[in-house]
């Protein structure tokens, strides 16, 4: 026969005892499960391109839940069970109450064996002890004295004992406890003028979400155009799923003021640890080994952090028939998944973002040369695919950041050529996809001593520079070799120290982003050599006449 607090409270009233001080005056009500859900997923704020990492989702989401509540008149405590475990409680907004919200609470303590022990501390508890041989269980009423340091000490009429130190099967049977819920719970204290049923909306930001755009570029056989397809890949690493939700993703970088350190703690609880006194026996070898064993035991018993328990995401769902719809949201881009969709717990989902074809593209090979470097080592050039995000190019729509996989075709066989990252690209911006190094186009830079005046083959570039005033003993020479069967466009960019400039060159010099650049055409199976001379500021201060 166990006495429950409710029975005790009734008995207490019957015998005229004072009500328990500090008790909750407000009636406790549970809100119904969400009837409507909106989930808006935002990218990891600091990731500028690339795919999401399913094991560590750094983005977040705005979750709006519509729930029905049955409010009694007066003050009540309303519990919203089953909110996302990554909830940022400070961001919660609840609308729809007639009498206003008195306060909002998020309780981080979840129902767990360790939390049961902690909340029963100093209170009566029933000890169950079973004799293995007979199967007979002995029940003893006692009081929990301590759960400090991972050991449990309790008191019965026989004296003080420690749990599970005797080698007998022992456990507790607890009185019902309040204030511990199975799932993350948000509660609000509200006051209602009358009893009524209301529809309220709870919105909050939650961690453990992310999304990215994943583009596939399929180059045509001649390499002059490509097809662009893209998926929106979104994922939820929360333990809570969002069935039949309106789902959106938002592109663009939003400011987050919260640092990593400000995540509110959540006590997910742990097992009952019943650590005992030293249990070394006469057959034990050394104390060091004992320590190690104890340490390992500690590690094995320690509650794992949440992230480790989550593990990898389980499921990948692809829906491709309908594309997302884009709309402007302030300075951000919002993409709406056309139909309601279920974003289940620990799931990643893909929705079609776009499909475009016949986008003209041109290929450029490029290399950067640091003029200070002397070594004559050949380095491969980078192959760059360039186009412009305009309607004329069959694009002209915002391209959210993500990863790009480029496919080419060889004898009808589709091959992956390269994977790279893409930043956010607005309409009318240039799109450049770096295809990585191309060993067929090599760049060799070195310096040569100038013994004769090279004025004849290298005309001055900068007007007003007197040839006689420039005394430069060396010229830089860059050789670009092309082993491909076709001519290539080549861009050679120079890295100069501040104030230095190119004074002579045997090819036309341009600038890009404030730096000198040679735009060349390298014929098939040929080598083009560029020679130029640099003047540094410390060579001589020049005044143009």
């Amino acid at each position: 026969m166990r006495a429950t607090p409710r029975a005790c409270a009734m008995l207490g009233l019957a015998i005229g005892a004072a009500p328990q001080p500090g008790s909750v005056l407000a009636a406790e009500i549970l809100a119904e499960p969400p009837s409507d859900l909106i989930v808006t997923v935002y990218r990891a704020p600091y990731r500028n391109g690339g795919s999401i990492d399913l094991d560590d989702l750094q983005g977040f989401a705005l979750v709006s839940e519509t729930r029905i509540v049955h409010l009694p008149a007066g003050r009540s405590r309303l519990r919203f069970e089953g909110v996302a475990d990554g909830i940022e409680p400070a961001s919660a907004i609840i609308t729809g109450f007639p009498g206003g919200v008195i306060e909002k609470n998020r309780d981080a303590r979840l129902l767990s064996p360790a939390a049961l022990i902690a909340s029963t501390l100093g209170k009566p508890v029933e000890l169950l002890r079973t004799i293995r041989k007979t199967g007979k269980t002995e029940r003893l009423t006692g009081t929990l004295l301590s759960d400090a340091g991972g050991g449990v000490v309790f008191k019965t009429s026989q004296g003080i004992e420690a749990l599970r130190c005797s080698g007998l099967p022992e456990t507790f049977s607890f009185e019902p406890v309040s204030g511990l819920s199975a799932r993350p719970t948000l509660s609000v204290e509200v006051r209602s003028p009358r009893a009524e049923t209301k529809q309220v909306t709870l919105s909050y930001l939650s961690r453990g979400f992310d999304w990215a755009a994943d583009y596939t570029v399929t180059l045509s056989d001649d390499g002059k155009s490509f097809e662009l397809g893209a998926w929106v890949t979104l994922a939820n690493s929360n333990g809570v799923g969002f069935p039949s939700a309106h789902t959106q993703v938002v592109a663009g970088t939003v400011n987050r003021a919260n640092g990593e350190e400000e995540v509110e703690p959540i006590d997910i609880g742990g097992p009952i640890l019943a650590r005992c006194w030293p249990r070394g026996s006469t057959s034990d070898v050394s104390e060091i080994r004992m320590f190690k064993l104890a340490h390992d035991d500690l590690k094995a018993n320690a509650p794992m952090p949440m992230a480790m328990r989550v593990g990898s995401l389980q499921e990948v769902v692809v829906t491709g028939a309908k594309k997302v719809q884009q709309e402007q949201l302030g300075d951000l881009k919002l993409y709406r998944v056309p139909e309601r969709t279920t974003l289940a717990s620990r799931q990643s989902k893909q929705v079609r973002l776009m499909d475009r074809s016949s986008i003209p593209v041109y290929t450029v090979y490029g290399a950067e040369v640091d003029v200070e470097e002397d070594d004559a080592v050949s380095t491969p050039a980078h192959r760059l695919l360039r186009t412009k995000n305009t309607a004329a190019n069959h694009l002209g729509l915002p391209l959210p950041s993500g990863s790009v996989a480029v496919f080419g075709a060889v004898q009808g066989l589709r091959l992956l050529e390269n994977e790279s990252d893409l930043r956010d690209i607005a309409v009318d911006e240039e799109v450049e996809i770096n295809m990585g190094e191309s060993p067929d186009v090599q760049v060799t830079a070195n310096k040569e001593k100038v013994s004769v005046d090279p004025a004849q083959d290298m005309p001055p570039l900068v007007p007003g520079v007197s040839l006689r005033s420039v005394k430069i003993g060396t010229a830089n020479r860059v050789a670009i070799s092309n082993a491909r069967p076709t001519d290539v466009q080549f861009e050679l960019r120079l890295q100069l120290e501040p104030g230095a400039r190119v004074v002579r060159a045997d090819h036309r010099l341009g600038t890009k982003n404030g730096r000198p650049i040679f735009r060349l055409r390298v014929p098939a199976h040929e080598t083009v050599t560029v020679r130029y001379q640099i003047q540094r500021t410390d060579d001589r201060i020049l005044r143009t006449p």
Partner: protein
């Protein structure tokens, strides 16, 4: 037979519950920087003469050096804060030299044999003296229960504060225990809904309390203090983060009707509240509708900042906290989250920004994030040495706007050090400080604008 059993169990339950004195009043004053002053008034029973009084249910992170106890007709001898915790190992350790009861359980029959034993040592294993023999506890692995007769005096389940006092006379009296504790803190959280059509915001302010002190404060009268008192041992306070973009454009000069304590503003909670351990609690303190707000763009370029690809401008919202065209309140430090309605009318999050303690009448300018469609490409075009210590730097800023309306970008070139002068510029700049030159560049809808400037710097 049944009723007395219930009654016995219940009386134990009532005893445990009455660990809370019915006449206890708690008041908690929480400062913004993880610090709280707890004042705990309760009736204590005092005997005449010397005695020890224990205070349970104090903060688990209490700073014992700040404890003070005040009650009539007592004199305090000493205060102790016991943090020796009651664990099975400690219990055995303290029993060294003392008698314990061991109960051997026969695994075959379940029969119990009771014996008295003296604990000799607990180094690595428990060594017992039973009669004239020495034995190692449970060396054979067979079940043995150990029963202790009492818990040593200073072993506790939780750290406990005890005070030794001399009572002048016996009787119950009112005592006030006050102490400082970390683990309790608060900050403000604001929700701002921006209405794009009429450029107005609705702002709600919430006080967010967090309690990680290890204790629940029941029915506490709660007062929040905006402002950070200097703490001597607060190591976290010595660290000042590097200066960030100032959100406060114009500091205000207005006073509200909020209660003050010295230079701090006080935010009392209207009703008593229970601050549970590991709980986040929010209470509303501000609700204003239809405050005019301005939306703009800002781009800050560091000195000699040059980019390979265009960089997004920051999206900025600014508004006033003044009593007439603003929020009409001082704002405690916290985070302001901006929302905006999408085409379907659902509010969507568009970014957040931290604000400092802000006086009333101030102008705030807050960043919500990067603008997808408004970008600036800043390039150092040329750097020339014009004299031994004089350099000329030609900058070009290309601004693009993919929005269907024209925008104004506040372009700031920083790092001018006061000795830089602008020799030529395509548009007139303002010099808000010696450090910064600022241009308001209008970028047409779906268009471009170019700004060039030539700086002369001494080096």
């Amino acid at each position: 037979m049944r009723l007395p059993l219930i009654f016995m169990a219940c009386s134990a339950w009532f005893l445990a519950a009455s660990a809370w004195p019915a006449d206890r009043t708690l008041s908690v004053t929480i400062y913004a920087d993880d610090l709280a002053l707890v004042q705990d008034r309760r009736d204590i029973d005092v005997k005449e003469g010397r005695q020890r009084i224990e205070f349970q249910e104090v903060s688990g992170q209490i700073r014992p050096e700040t404890v003070s106890l005040a009650a009539a007709d007592i004199s305090i001898i000493e205060q102790n804060f016991d943090f020796d915790l009651l664990t099975p190992a400690k219990l055995m350790e303290k029993a060294v030299g003392q008698e314990i009861t061991i109960v051997r359980v026969n695994p075959a029959t379940g029969a119990e044999t009771r014996e008295q034993a003296q604990v000799l040592a607990t180094n690595g294993g428990v060594v017992l003296k039973i009669g004239q023999r020495i034995e190692v506890l449970r060396d054979d692995g067979l079940p043995v229960r150990v029963i202790f007769s009492k818990v040593p005096d200073n072993l506790r389940a939780r750290p406990t504060l005890s005070v030794s006092i001399i009572g002048a006379h016996a009787g119950t009296r009112r005592a006030t225990l006050s102490y400082l504790t970390p683990g309790l803190g608060w900050k403000a959280d604001y929700v701002a809904l921006y209405n794009e059509s009429d450029a107005k915001i609705d702002v709600q302010g919430w006080v967010t309390l967090t309690n990680s002190s290890g204790t629940t404060y029941d029915n506490a009268q709660t007062l929040l203090v905006a402002g950070s008192p200097s703490q001597v041992d607060g190591a976290a306070n010595n660290y000042r983060p590097s200066p960030r973009r100032s959100t406060l454009q114009v500091p205000g000069t207005e006073s509200g009707n909020r209660e003050r304590l010295g230079d701090y503003y006080l935010y009392p909670l209207a009703e008593r509240t229970t601050i549970a351990n590991l709980q986040t609690k929010q209470v509303s303190f501000l609700d204003v509708h239809g405050v005019p707000a301005e939306h703009g763009y800002e781009f800050r370029n560091r000195w000699l900042g040059t980019a390979e690809t265009p960089v997004s401008a920051k999206s900025i919202y600014s508004f006033s906290t003044s009593a007439h065209a603003g929020l009409g309140d001082q704002l405690p430090a916290g985070i302001l989250r901006f929302y905006m309605r999408d085409k379907r009318g659902d509010p969507q999050f568009i970014g957040e920004s931290r604000i400092d303690h802000t006086p009333m009448g101030s102008t705030l300018s807050l960043t919500t994030g990067d603008a997808f469609d408004v970008k600036v490409h800043a390039v150092v075009e040329k750097r020339t040495r014009i004299a031994t210590f004089d350099w000329q730097t030609d900058m070009r800023y290309e601004l693009t706007n993919a929005l269907p309306r024209s925008v104004v970008v506040k372009l700031r070139q920083e790092g001018l050090w006061g000795d830089s002068s602008i020799k030529a510029e395509s548009q007139k700049s303002t010099r808000s400080s010696a450090e910064v030159a600022e241009w308001a560049v209008t970028v047409p809808a779906n268009g471009k604008a170019t700004l060039t400037a030539s700086f002369e710097t001494r080096y």
